[in-house]
C-alpha cells in the first residue's frame, strides 16, 4: 500500500516537473539580461525595468500587442458570456429535434480544430467582402468562446429549480426583471467560469487570430511572438511579460479552485 502511494506520488510529481520545466525556464531566464533564452549572464531585473518603462526595442509594437490582446479578450468574452447565457436558457427550454440541432451546432466550434475555424472564418470575411481587423478578430473569438459559455451555464440551469423564474413573474417581476434579479444570480457561477474560460482562450489564441486579423498589421501577443520567433530573435522582454501573466493566471485559478473545493466541502 505504502509503496503504491509512494510510486503514485513520484509519478505525479515527475510529470508536473516535466510539465512546468519550460515555464520555470522562462521565469528563471526573465531575471537575466541575455538576449536569447538559455543564456545566463547573471541576475538582473533589467528586463522587468525595460518592460515597465518601455525602454526596449520595438516597445510600441509589444505594448500595442498587449493592449490588443486584452481589449479583444475583454470584448469577446463579455459578448460571448451574454450571448451564451441567453442561448443556454433558450436551448434548455427547447425540446426534441430543435434542442438536438442547437446542441449539435454548439458542438461544432468545440470539435473543429483552430485551423478549420480560422480558415472558414477567413473565407467568410473574404466572401462577404469585409475588411479584416479588430471587428473580424473579435467576431471570430466570440464564435469559438460562446460554446464554452453555453456548456458552463447549462449545468447551472439543470441544478436550478425550474420554477424560480416563474415565481419571480408571479410576484410581479417583468421578464426583464426576472432575468436580472433571479436568473442571473442563479446562473452566475456558470457565467463566471464561462467568462474566465473565454477570456483565457481568447488570450491564448494564435491560429484563429492569425487567419482573421487581415493585413492592417494588427498584432496580438500570440501573433507578435510568432512573427518575432520567425524573424529569429525573441524580444527578451517577452520573458518577464510571460512570467507576470503566468503568475496572475496561477493566482486567479488557484484562488477560484480552492474556493470552489471549500464550498463543496462545506456542502458535503
Amino acid at each position: 500500500m505504502d509503496w503504491k502511494k509512494l510510486f503514485a506520488k513520484l509519478y505525479i510529481w515527475l510529470l508536473l516537473i516535466v510539465l512546468y520545466a519550460p515555464i520555470a525556464f522562462i521565469v528563471i531566464f526573465s531575471f537575466t539580461e541575455a538576449k536569447s533564452l538559455g543564456n545566463w549572464t547573471g541576475f538582473s531585473t533589467a528586463l522587468y525595468q525595460n518592460l515597465f518603462n518601455g525602454s526596449m526595442q520595438n516597445a510600441s509594437g509589444l505594448l500595442s500587442a498587449v493592449k490588443n490582446t486584452l481589449l479583444i479578450a475583454l470584448v469577446a468574452s463579455v459578448v460571448a458570456t451574454l450571448l451564451g447565457t441567453i442561448a443556454a436558457i433558450g436551448i434548455f427550454h427547447l425540446h426534441g429535434t430543435k434542442k438536438q440541432t442547437m446542441t449539435f451546432l454548439n458542438n461544432i466550434p468545440m470539435i473543429n480544430p483552430d485551423i478549420i475555424t480560422g480558415v472558414s472564418l477567413f473565407l467568410l470575411f473574404v466572401f462577404l467582402g469585409i475588411s479584416q481587423g479588430y471587428t473580424t478578430v473579435i467576431l471570430a473569438h466570440i464564435t469559438f468562446c460562446t460554446p464554452y459559455v453555453v456548456l458552463n451555464v447549462m449545468p447551472k440551469l439543470r441544478q436550478m429549480n425550474p420554477n424560480i423564474y416563474e415565481a419571480a413573474l408571479d410576484l410581479g417581476a417583468t421578464p426583464a426583471q426576472a432575468f436580472r434579479k433571479v436568473l442571473v444570480p442563479a446562473l452566475r457561477p456558470g457565467m463566471i467560469s464561462g467568462f474566465i474560460l473565454s477570456f483565457t482562450m481568447s488570450l491564448d489564441d494564435f491560429v484563429v487570430t492569425f487567419f482573421t486579423r487581415g493585413t492592417i498589421g494588427l498584432d496580438t501577443l500570440s501573433t507578435y511572438i510568432y512573427t518575432d520567433a520567425r524573424k529569429g530573435g525573441l524580444t527578451p522582454e517577452l520573458k518577464p511579460l510571460m512570467s507576470i501573466i503566468f503568475l496572475i493566471i496561477l493566482v486567479v485559478l488557484l484562488v477560484i479552485n480552492i474556493r470552489q473545493s471549500k464550498q463543496l466541502e462545506k456542502k458535503a
Partner: protein, 464 residues
Amino acid sequence: MSQNDVIIKVEHLSKSFGDKTVLDDINLEIKRGEFVTLLGPSGCGKTTMLRFIAGFNTADEGKIIMEGKDITDVPPFKRPLNTVFQRYALFPHLDVYDNIAFGLKLNKVPEEEIDKRVMKVLKLVSMSDYEDRDVESLSGGQQQRVAIARALINQPKVLLLDEPLAALDLKMRKDMQIELKEMHKKLGITFIYVTHDQEEALTLSDTIVVMNEGKIQQIGTPTDIYNEPVNAFVADFIGESNILKGRMIRDRRVAFIKHEFDCVDEGFGEDVKVDVVVRPEDIYFTTDPAKCQFKAKVNSCIFKGVHYEMWVDTDTGYELMIQDYDPYPVGSEVMLYIDPDDIQVMKKEREANTYAAKVTGEGEVEFLGTTFACDTTGFEEGDEVVATIRFEKVDLLDYEEEADTTGNVVFILYMGNHYHLTVKTESGENIWVDTNDIWDKGDFVGIKILPEDIRLSKPAAGNE
C-alpha cells in the same frame, strides 16, 4: 349563486402538447373564499390548468375570467394572484427576508412598510426570527412556510398551490394540512390547490374537482364525492372501493355478485345494466342468518393500523375487499350484508365499444385508424356504419405481429371477478376491454378483434 360570488371562471379551456390533449374543454367556476382542490392522477391536466390560471401556460382555446374581467392575455406578473410552487422555488441567492420582500421591493413599497409586512406574514406562518436565515439552511417544512409567506405578502385575491406538500414527510404533511386549513379560514381568500393525494383533498377542501385525462369527472364537496361518485374512475380514485357490474331490477332493487339487494336509487328504469360501488367499510359481518345476504370465505387478512383489510371470495365467485375493526381468520366462512344506503348505483358509461366506421370493401371495415375483417353482408363499399365490439371480445396480446393495432393500457379497474381495462390505441381513441389476464398500467399491448366479434349496424339518425 350570484355572479358576484364567482371569483374565477374558466371557459372552454383546451390545451394540447403536440398530439397529446392535456385539457379538453374544461369549464369551471370558483367561488370567492372557497378552498378548491384540483385532484387527479399525474398527467390528468391539473397542474396545466393551475399554470393556465397563474398565466404561465397559454391555452389553445378558452378564456379565464377573474371578477368579471377577461384576463386570458394578461401576463403573470400583472395578475392579482400568487402561487406556491411545487418544491418551493425560493430564490437561493436571497435570504428569507429578501425572498419574502421580493414582490414588494419590485413595487417600490417604502422600506418601513416592507419591514412591517414581512414581520407580520412571518408571524402568520410561524417563522418569526427566521428573516436573516439563508433559505438553503432551512428544512423542507420551513422552506414551505417561507414560500407561502412570499406568496401571501402581495395580498393576492387567490392563492394557487401546486402540490405544496408533496416533498414533505408524512408527519410534516399532516401538520401543514391543518395549518393551511387554518390559514385559509383566517385570511378568507380563495385557495386553489392541486394534489394527487385524495386523502389530502378530502381533508382540506370545500370543493373537490376530480380530473382525469384532461376532463373534469366530478365537482362536489368531499362528502358528495366520497359517497356518491358519479363514475367508476372517481369511485376507484377516491378511497378504496369494490366496483362491480350490476343490473337494476326495478327502482330500489339492484342485482350484483349474483345476489339481489335493496338500495335507495331510483329512476334508472327496469332491467338496466349499471355499475355498483360498495365501499369496503360498508360490508358488514353478521352471525344472524336472518340478516345474512350472502356468504363468503376469507382469503386474506392484513392489519392496517386502525382496521383490518380482508379479501373474501363470495359463494358466487367474486372477490370483495372488506375493512373491519375485527379480524376474521383466513379460511373461515362468514355471513355478510350491505345496508341499502351504502350501495351506490352508477349509470353505465357504455355497454360496449362502439365506433363510427366505414365499409372499405367486401368483408372489410375501417375504424380505430386501421382495417378489420368482418362480415359486411347487407352493406356496400363506402357505407358509413357503426361497429360494435363487446368488451370481452377484445383480445390483448403482448406482441404486435398478429395484432390489428396497438395501444397502451391507461386505466385498470378490478370488477370483483375480472379486470376492466381502458386502452388508448394508436389512433388516440380508447378501447375498453374485459379480461382475466393481469396487465399493468402503461403496458404496450397488441389489440386483436376476430371478424365474427365485430357487429355492424346502420348509424342511428342524429347519433353515431
